[in-house]
């Protein structure tokens, strides 16, 4: 078996299994900790608040955004770029069709891919440089933050370096980083992608019960 076959074959399936099981385990683990029943008579609906909280926190507030706009732009640029790459890059769609799902969907054209990648890179780089150039960020950041950013960066970078699609070695390196990333994910803060809805939602639910404006 060639190196490429390993990283996109058995190693990939193992990594994907760890990713899925770990991530689900962790989300369920949090939910299972549970709450005490709230005895205070509610003024509004907790369920509505859960959803509202999730939606509201997508939108920055003007009074804070005036100071933090660089961060907001970087964050959105990175995440949108990343999702576009992850879901609509032609090789990803092919991979998903051939190895996992059996069906496909329209892919980004090449120029769309490049632009999405540029947004993702610009955003991620800005987010990361902010991490070491701001006293607040220096104080609160730990290894996990840096490893998460770097792993994601390397996955994206190796993917883009393989864009010519003429060398199996480059593809294999990309897949290797993908596998490492998948294994790292459930144990790390990258998990925020799977837990953010809970934290926004729980706060939203509390607010909802109190009849608070968001």
């Amino acid at each position: 078996m060639s190196f490429l076959q390993i990283v996109e074959g058995p190693l990939f399936y193992i990594a994907a299994a760890i990713f899925l099981i770990g991530a689900i385990w962790r989300v369920i683990g949090i939910i299972k900790i549970g709450h005490k029943r709230d005895l205070a008579p509610p003024k509004g609906s907790g369920k509505v608040g859960f959803v509202a909280g999730n939606l509201r926190h997508f939108l920055p507030r003007k009074i804070f955004a005036k100071r933090t706009w660089v961060h907001i732009i970087a964050g959105y640029s990175f995440h949108f770029g990343l999702f576009a790459l992850l879901l609509f890059a032609a090789p990803h769609i092919d991979f998903a069709r051939d190895r996992i799902l059996g069906f496909d969907w329209p892919a980004l054209p090449r120029w769309g891919f490049i632009i999405a990648a540029q947004f993702a890179f610009a955003g991620l780089i800005m987010l990361w440089v902010r991490r070491f150039s701001d006293p607040v960020m220096r104080l609160i950041s730990d290894w996990d933050d840096h490893i998460g950013s770097w792993l994601t960066f390397l996955v994206m970078l190796t993917g883009c370096l393989a864009l010519q699609e003429s060398h199996n070695a480059l593809k294999a390196i990309h897949m290797l980083f993908v596998d490492v990333w998948l294994i790292y994910f459930p144990f790390s803060r990258l998990m925020h992608a799977g837990t953010f809805f809970l934290s926004r939602g729980y706060t939203g639910a509390t607010y909802g019960r109190k009849g608070m404006t968001l």
């Binding site: 032609a90 092919d94 490049i114 610009a122 150039s133 701001d134 370096l161 864009l163 699609e165 060398h167």
Partner: protein, 354 residues
């Protein structure tokens, strides 16, 4: 102030666009790869290149498929004589000397470090700080730095790789490096322009030359002993700023021409562009090595401004005394020996407007 910067930034972008478009105005053609191809017999899987993947070209070529070897504009031309000159310039001058230039700069830096050592703060650290760069300034700087490093590395692989790397790692492995470097270089290139404009806009105020700069030069920048007064930026920093701005602009323009070659039918333009692009880039990289040196191991207290945004009061007084005075309204110790600042040093608003 605001207006002036805005105008400067717009001017800068306009210049870039104008130069690219006028160069190419007469030669807007359909993209070179917009060739009539029979799409029905596609080979291989689809990919990010669409049906026009380069590997597919090669595949088709090897199969002897017709209609592929010329792709439009330079159709009739078999040999362009200047091409040989260009090849020689590239090989005998650029590739040959750029490696030596960079090596020489490194040697000089090492020697300088061994002889002069780290430039220490005479008064030590005071523990008090004043703010120097706002977070957007720092972010823009590091954004530029990251992009620059990636472009520099991939660019050097492309420029020098065949001469310096290939003999070491073998042609096959080098071809992988080259492919990766090319894709990376093309991907990050446009981001360099974004970084350049952003950085220019934020850093241009305070970077215009003034009389103090002349005095600073005469005193050798204080590097050789003695004190050279400076405002927010000293002469050396100003030169670095304008080198980045102007050479960066040149690299950007030539880079666009090279990344989108179908914009122009003029082969000579492409040849000149590669030469300007390479010389400019090597020059900037050489300068950057010096910049990185002085910002890290070369000078005590310098890195703080880009990691925390604040610098030690003593650092400000020793290296940017005029700026210190302007910001705090207080005489710096270099003029008034003895006294260290106990005064109000948190005049943030004044400084972050830089």
């Amino acid at each position: 102030m605001m207006l002036h910067r805005l105008i400067a930034a717009i001017f800068f972008i306009a210049l870039m666009l104008v130069s690219v478009t006028t160069i190419n105005a007469q030669s807007v053609r359909p993209p070179g790869n917009a060739v009539n191809q029979s799409t029905d017999e596609q080979i291989g899987t689809s990919n990010t290149l669409g049906p026009d993947s380069q590997s597919k070209y090669w595949h088709d070529l090897r199969q002897g498929k017709s209609g592929l070897s010329t792709t439009g504009r330079s159709g009739g031309l078999l040999i362009q004589a200047q091409g040989e000159q260009w090849r020689l310039i590239r090989k005998n001058y650029i590739i040959k000397y750029s490696g030596w230039v960079l090596a020489a700069v490194l040697v000089i830096l090492v020697l300088f470090f061994l002889i002069r050592g780290k430039i220490r703060l005479k008064g030590g650290r005071s523990g008090q700080t004043i703010s120097r760069f706002s977070l957007p300034h720092r972010t823009a700087h590091w954004f530029m730095a990251s992009i620059f490093i990636m472009l520099g590395l991939s660019g050097l692989i492309l420029l020098l790789g065949r001469t310096a790397l290939a003999p070491l790692i073998g042609k096959n492995v080098y071809s992988i490096f080259a492919s990766a470097a090319m894709q990376g270089h093309n991907l990050f290139g446009p981001l360099f322009i974004v970084a350049l404009v952003w950085m220019y806009y934020l850093f241009v105020p305070g970077n215009f030359f003034k009389m103090v700069d002349l005095k600073w030069i005469l005193k050798g920048g204080g590097l050789i002993g003695g004190h050279a007064s400076a405002g927010h930026y000293n002469f050396g920093e100003k030169v670095w700023f304008w080198a980045v701005a102007i050479v960066g602009l040149l690299i950007s323009i030539t880079g666009i021409i090279l990344e989108f070659p179908w914009l122009s039918a003029n082969l000579q333009l492409l040849q000149i562009s590669t030469i300007v692009h390479a010389i400019g880039a090597v020059g900037l990289i050489a300068f950057a090595l010096g910049h990185i040196y002085i910002g890290t191991i070369g000078m005590e207290g310098a890195l703080d401004s880009m990691t925390t945004g604040d610098v030690d009061v003593n650092w400000a007084k020793e290296h940017h005394d005029l700026w210190y005075e302007e910001v705090t309204g207080e005489k710096s110790a270099t003029h008034d020996q003895g006294e260290t600042g106990h005064a109000q040093v948190y005049s943030q608003d004044k400084i972050t407007g830089v």
